[in-house]
């Protein structure tokens, strides 16, 4: 440090002696350049650290959060049951929504004007109608359907109807979320396909590769590079979007938390914290998976693969 400071002093001293505009007086060559100091960054860092510490301290010591009750509820079977429903609905709608999205995107990009218009119309409709409205309409449809099915002679008895109730609500929730998800996924997939250079389509066509092969092996792997980050964003929205299924009487994580808080009004805050932490865990897992999936699809697109956190850690330890 002191040697650099000395060099700086020399540099300043040397400046007036040289003619203006002519660099590299003999004493200046071979000197190290002193990096620009950033005092503002240090000030900002201190402010952020103090605020963060204050927040964490409050979180830990404020009795308002009732961390003992949080511990009590966190892994209760009733909460885990809700968590399972959340996972189930998310996974089903994510897969069905993505498949639907691929079909819609291909329809939209097809040269058939009717298919293209139909796909556009679908996306327009489901992006315009709030998810909660879609779910409630489907819920009421299914209620209507059940009433009708009761009128059919030799149909299922009343008791079996009750047993099927949960499954039916799961179906309503999954269908509603999938329909909504497909509309957004269609745009994500379409953007991904359009991001692939037209030269790739031409090269595949010039080699006479069959249409399906062109899409599956040439276009899609390259499109996924653009699709994955956008779709994971969508997926995280979906995880939290599943909390709306409470309104079609499906008790997911949020639903169970709501039900428990009306039974134990004193535990509202810790119960909400339980839901929060579980949702944070779910999105964190998805983000980690995203990193590795993105890395997988960056093959060939970058000269060197970005290191995994484990590789980075190993490199740091070795140095």
């Amino acid at each position: 440090m002191s040697s650099i400071d000395a060099a700086a002093g020399e540099a300043v001293a040397a400046e007036p002696t040289g003619p203006p505009g002519v660099p590299a007086a003999p004493e200046l060559t071979g000197q190290r350049v002193i990096p620009l100091r950033h005092p503002g960054r240090w000030i900002a860092t201190v402010i952020v650290v103090v605020l963060a510490a204050q927040f964490v301290h409050g979180l830990a010591t404020n009795p308002f959060y009732q961390w003992d009750r949080f511990g009590y509820w966190f892994a209760r079977p009733v909460i885990l049951r809700g968590l399972w429903i959340t996972l189930e609905v998310t996974a089903l709608s994510a897969v069905l929504g993505l498949l639907g999205g691929i079909v819609l995107a291909l329809a939209r990009l097809s040269r058939n004007p009717v298919l293209s218009a139909a796909s556009w119309l679908y996306v327009w409709l489901f992006r315009s109608v709030p998810l909660i409205v879609v779910l409630l309409i489907l819920f009421n449809f299914s209620a209507l359907y059940k009433t009708l099915s009761l009128g059919v002679p030799f149909g299922p008895g009343f008791l079996r109807f009750d047993e099927n109730k949960l499954a039916t609500e799961l179906v309503v929730a999954t269908v509603g979320l999938s329909l909504n998800e497909a509309a957004y996924a269609a745009e994500v997939v379409r953007a991904g396909i359009l991001s692939v250079d037209s030269g790739q389509h031409e090269a595949a066509a010039a080699l006479g590769l069959p249409k399906l092969y062109q899409f599956r092996r040439i276009v899609l792997p390259q499109a996924l590079r653009a699709i994955v980050p956008a779709y994971v964003n969508q997926l995280i929205g979906l995880i939290k979007g599943t909390s709306l299924v409470f309104y079609v009487s499906l008790l997911d994580l949020f639903g169970e938390v709501q039900t428990m808080s009306s039974t134990y009004p004193g535990d509202v805050v810790p119960l909400l914290l339980v839901a929060t932490v579980w949702y944070v865990i779910l999105t964190s897992v998805v983000s980690v998976v995203q990193f590795y999936v993105e890395r997988h699809y960056s093959r060939g697109a970058v000269r060197t693969m970005p290191p995994t956190p484990l590789q980075r850690l190993r490199a740091a330890v070795r140095v």
Binding site: G208, Q222, G300
Partner: protein, 256 residues
């Protein structure tokens, strides 16, 4: 029309983009094993003519045949009807195409790029295709780059992989669309040398290029195009050294 089987025959090829005629009644015959070089200013219709031969572009009128078979269309009485996309894709296997910007598949290794088409079109098993791909990469001097992704190759190396890829289906004719125009000057030589090797091995080639030296050395036939028409064609010595048409003379005086 020639009775002998021409490798490529273009007859009355006409194509317009709106009011602009890119190809205006073009006739071209390429004999098997011959190298045809197409010269001309940009916008002359050279690339379009090449892309018409493997039906990447459709003709408004006229037809193309490769090894005696109509490309992209079939005869129906005295009319020509467009073939299905599947049939066109099958036909393209017989016509290799090398692009100016290589257009290698970036997510596949050099070997996978070369081996993809024979497997996808059901002409070879995976093992056969990989073996042939290795041979082809050796032929273009890149045996040691088989497992490398295109982005880690130089432009010249990428173009040589692209040439190997075009040869993987054993096409009757290979089309080159300005294969060296996107390369650094010092990399042009290696690609031209690879094309020369093909020519001396008796492959039928049609090359759109600005490399006059290459045309003089390798071509059996030089075609000069301007404004969507073939202005002049003949042996390289004729067209390059004693051009008859003033437009050819003007062009050559600028590029030589």
């Amino acid at each position: 029309m020639n009775a002998i089987a021409a490798a490529v025959e273009v007859h009355g090829a006409t194509k317009s983009y709106g009011a602009h005629k890119v190809l205006d009644n073009v006739d071209l015959t390429v004999c098997p094993g011959h190298v045809t070089v197409i010269l001309g200013p940009s916008g002359a219709g050279k690339s379009t003519l090449l892309r018409v031969i493997n039906h990447l572009e459709k003709l408004d009128a006229g037809y193309v045949s490769v090894n005696g078979a109509l490309v992209g269309v079939r005869q129906h009485g005295d009319r020509l009807k467009e073939l299905s996309e599947r049939a066109i894709l099958a036909q393209r296997a017989d016509i290799g195409f090398v692009f100016q910007n290589f257009n290698l598949f970036p997510h596949l290794t050099a070997l996978e790029n070369v081996a993809a088409a024979p497997v996808a079109t059901g002409r070879a098993t995976k093992a056969e295709a990989r073996e042939r791909a290795r041979e082809l990469l050796t032929r273009v001097g890149l045996a040691d780059k088989a497992d490398v992704h295109p982005r880690r190759l130089s432009g010249g190396q990428q173009q040589r992989v692209a040439i190997a890829r075009a040869l993987a289906l054993r096409p009757g004719v290979v089309l080159f669309d300005e294969p060296t125009s996107a390369l650094d000057p010092e990399l042009v030589g290696e690609v031209l040398a690879t094309i020369k090797d093909l020519a001396s091995a008796g492959t039928t080639l049609i090359v759109v290029t600005h490399e006059i030296g290459f045309a003089r050395e390798v071509a059996d036939q030089v075609v000069f195009m301007d404004g969507g028409r073939i202005v002049e064609q003949g042996e390289p010595a004729e067209v390059l050294d004693r051009p008859r048409h003033p437009r050819t003379r003007e062009f050559l005086s600028k590029v030589l």
